[in-house]
């Protein structure tokens, strides 16, 4: 159905492909055409963009001093093994 228009219910399932630039050009054109005439779907796409932005604001947990110390110990153990780090600086 090349000329069939997109319903809102169909559009919401295409939004990730749309935002990730994975929609074929003809579907992309239908998507854009729908958005022009549908303020609710425009709101929906804005909400998805806001969702992505919010998720992107989550900061990874800071590295704890304990974890850093343990990892440094592991690194020194590894370096001390014969042949592990052949050109280890003195």
């Amino acid at each position: 159905m090349p000329d069939s228009t997109l319903t809102c219910q169909e559009l919401v399932e295409l939004v990730t492909d749309y935002l990730e630039a994975a929609l074929p050009p003809e579907d992309c054109a239908r998507f854009d055409a729908h958005l022009l005439g549908c303020p609710d779907c425009a709101v929906y796409v804005d909400q998805m963009r806001a969702t992505i932005r919010l998720t992107g604001e989550l900061s990874p947990a800071a590295l704890s001093d304990e974890a850093r110390r343990k990892l440094l110990d592991a690194f020194r153990d590894w370096r001390a093994q014969p042949g592990a780090a052949p050109s280890a600086p003195a």
């Binding site: 319903t7 809102c8 219910q9 169909e10 919401v12 399932e13 939004v15 990730t16 492909d17 990730e20 994975a22 549908c38 303020p39 609710d40 779907c41 709101v43 929906y44 804005d46 909400q47 998805m48 806001a50 969702t51 992505i52 919010l54 998720t55 992107g56 604001e57 989550l58 990874p60 947990a61 800071a62 590295l63 974890a67 850093r68 343990k70 990892l71 440094l72 592991a74 690194f75 020194r76 590894w78 370096r79 592990a84 780090a85 052949p86 050109s87 280890a88 600086p89």
Partner: protein, 226 residues
Amino acid sequence: MSDLPSLPSRPDESQRLAALRAGDEAAFLALVEQYHAALVRLATTYVGNPALAEDVAQETWVRALRGLERFEARSSLKTWLFRILTNTALTYAKRAGREITFSDLAGDDDEPAVEPEKFLPASDPEWAGHWAAPLQPWGTEGLEGRVERRELLRQVEAALADLPPNQRAVITLHDVEGWAAQDICNVLGLSETNQRVLLHRARARVRRAVTRFIEADQSAGEPTDA
């Protein structure tokens, strides 16, 4: 067998690698600062609890150091490191009795991005499949810097924690860590299509959680009309 790497590693990466192999502590610490938190985050999706995820990440570094001499830079250091993580995490998950299959979408929930009742039914003569009621903008931009935004982020964090492991892994790498799709596919062993399906479901769930929070917040606190 080709002895040339398929992709040349970036110059800064080969310097980094050389420094690590030479036993340079600062180079190692820089790598740890850059990736450890993300390793723990991803490990959590496999093993569930953060303490065990920390163990998995620590074990990953130990395995990576042991394998450093054999690393041929065919992939980026990052991809290599995270592959070691997924292998380590799978071992831990299996030991803890958790069955994780990232590539299998079949057993996954097949829920729509938006609840079907939000749309007019197929029986509607004119507007079947269109929104049943106008969609309210969130207005989250106006919350910039305010307490509500911190609360909003807590909601997003909680929504992520509630996701099925495969969705959570993909949205974490894609939207939190900002990875390219191809790197995610390499590390998690997913096709690009499956990666996008998981991302789609994950984002839709997070959006629904934020919508619920904002709607509850609006009906609870703010004046409805002025």
